[in-house]
Amino acid sequence: MNIPSNVGKSTLLAMCIFWIINFTKDISMDLAGFALLSAIPIFICVSLVIIITICPVFWFLKKDNVSNYAIAKKYFPYYIIVMFALCLMGIITSRSDVYSISFFITVFITTAQSWVWFAKENRI
């Protein structure tokens, strides 16, 4: 499993989604600085989520003759449904604030895409 590559790609993806949604509300020079700086907390969040919630599925449930693809095919649906429910709950409880909406949409899409990248690693 190539975790550093996955975390790197996921961080970029998360940054793009998060700021694209936020820039639809207000584009200003002040936010551009924040957008660049946000790479650090986004990297930390992405790393933690991937290492704590996705990697253990592959570490503990993967057997010698099972590919990443097979693991993802079996467990991804349950993971993503739970993640969707949590993100939806987050959006509802945050009373539709744009920052919260962009955060939860970013979490949902990034985690899903992260699974896809892990599944596409050609290892048996």
Binding site: C16, I20, I21, F23, T24, K25, I27, M29, A32, A35, Y69, A72, K73, K74, F76, P77, Y78, I80, I81, F84, A112, Q113, W115, V116, A119, K120
Partner: protein, 467 residues
């Protein structure tokens, strides 16, 4: 062709839902979804179950327009997931349909990315357009150009002036993002996917129990003895409880709301515990080979008796709730008690059938989820706020007006009529009038996407008054 349908649907999705409340838009969306599914999955609509779910989806879309209750909106969403799941695999159980429906709706796009990986090794005869490449080609330079424009703006006043003259305010970025959401949704559902593991397991598992390979007569005898003793004692206990309960009901003529409320709620709590434990115990003893043990007749009779006695307990609680409702009217909690009692009664009947016909746990789950779905459908056809208000003001011995005023606007016209015909206190009179005025204002402020049947009714009323 598919891409054109998805793009058109996503634009319609934005037009219907962007900055709008639920109303006519959800009904139109349901029809649009059905058309999209019909075009892209024509073969799947030859199945009887799928056709039924499609019709139910249309019915719930109409109910949303006519009733406009939260329950009708929830039911519409549940039927939407069921329909999508049914298109994925028509033969699977309803709860697997829900799982497949939710999975398709939220992650169909990502699922297909997995399958792309599986097919990578196979020769590709016709290469599709590489959307990811095009997104990168346009998106990445665009993001960097915007970032650098924002940076350069502060460095050069002429450049800043030129950039400031560009006015892109006519573009609503949030509307565009909403369309992207619509695109994501329609691209997910246009080609439904399945949770393979769960669907396969469901299709492979039947409803009947089969005899296990290890069949120890000695162990089964011990288990039967334990079960018989336990069931016998529980039967004695529940008979004692029922007798005392009947005596309590027949001797006390309670008119106090608090006492009645306590009686019903305590009864419900006892019922919840009793039924859950009853079903768990029955399922434990009849989980395997005890079903095929030749001397299990006594245990089965005791289990049936216990189920019947629990059903009597349900009827007693319903009777108490009935007294409560006829005195103090309906509330959502009291309606909820009736629905809970109905579900419990059905649960007991299906447990009875499970033991009688030697069915497995999955049978119980399949049948109960299907019945829950039907009850949800039936409940969504009722405008509860209106019906609760109608019953309380016409038949209840005492009316809690404050409770009725706090319900949704679905009862505003009814309360207004009641207010006009009766002499109420000034506080309630004003509150009802305010509620009605706000409701009429709300109807007038609605855009066409938010229209409901109430809009048509009010338009007709105002025309009648004008004449």
């Amino acid at each position: 062709m598919k891409q054109a349908i998805i793009i058109l649907s996503s634009l319609l999705f934005s037009t219907l839902f962007y900055s709008q409340n639920i109303g006519l838009n959800l009904s139109i969306f349901s029809i649009l979804t059905l058309i999209v599914l019909l075009i892209s999955n024509t073969n799947k609509f030859k199945n009887k179950a799928t056709i039924i779910y499609a019709l139910l989806y249309l019915v719930t879309a109409a109910i949303v327009f006519f009733q406009h209750t939260t329950l009708s909106i929830i039911t519409n969403c549940v039927v939407f997931f069921t329909l999508i799941g049914s298109i994925t695999e028509a033969k699977s159980s309803i709860f697997v349909n829900w799982l497949n429906g939710v999975y398709t709706t939220v992650a169909g796009f990502f699922h297909r990315s997995f399958h792309f990986n599986e097919k990578e090794a196979k020769p590709i005869l016709k290469k599709d357009i590489d959307f990811l490449h095009w997104i990168k080609l346009i998106g990445i330079p665009l993001v960097f150009i915007i970032v650098f424009i924002l940076l350069y703006k502060n460095g050069n006043s002429v450049f800043n002036d030129l950039i400031s003259q560009i006015n892109l305010k006519f573009i609503n970025m949030q509307w565009i993002l909403f369309s992207v959401l619509g695109y994501f949704l329609f691209s997910n559902i246009i080609n439904p996917v399945e949770v393979e593991h769960a669907t396969k397991l469901d299709l492979e598992t039947g409803n009947s129990l089969s005899k296990g390979t290890i069949f120890s007569e000695e162990d089964l005898k011990k288990e039967k003895q334990l079960g018989t003793t336990l069931m016998l004692l529980l039967n004695v206990l529940i008979v004692f409880y029922l007798v005392t309960d009947i005596i309590a009901i027949s001797t006390s003529a309670t008119s106090n709301a608090e006492t009645l409320s306590n009686q019903v709620h305590n009864g419900i709590n006892a019922l919840i515990a009793s039924i859950v434990i009853a079903i768990v115990i029955i399922l434990y003893f009849f989980r395997g080979n005890l079903n095929f043990y030749k001397d299990n007749k006594a245990l089965k009779i005791l289990a049936f008796t216990w189920i019947i006695l629990n059903a009597v307990l349900v009827i007693l609680i319903a009777f108490k709730n009935n007294i409560y409702v006829s005195s103090f009217g309906f509330t959502y909690k009291r309606v909820g008690v009736y629905i809970y009692l109905l579900l419990t009664f059905i649960g007991l009947v299906t447990t009875f059938i499970k033991v009688l016909k030697v069915k497995n746990l999955l049978f119980l789950f399949r049948v109960n989820t299907q019945i829950a779905f039907v009850i949800l459908m039936l409940c969504s056809t009722i405008n509860w706020d209106y019906q609760i208000t109608h019953y309380n003001i016409n038949y209840a011995q005492s009316v809690d007006l404050s409770y009725l005023i706090n319900l949704s606007n679905n009862n505003a016209s009814l309360l207004k009529t009641y207010n006009d015909k009766n002499t109420l206190g000034s506080k309630n009179y004003n509150r009802i009038n305010n509620k009605h005025t706000n409701f009429i204002q709300l109807l007038e402020d609605r855009s066409w996407q938010e229209y409901t049947y109430e809009n048509l009714k009010e338009t007709n009323n105002s025309k009648t008054h004008n004449y």
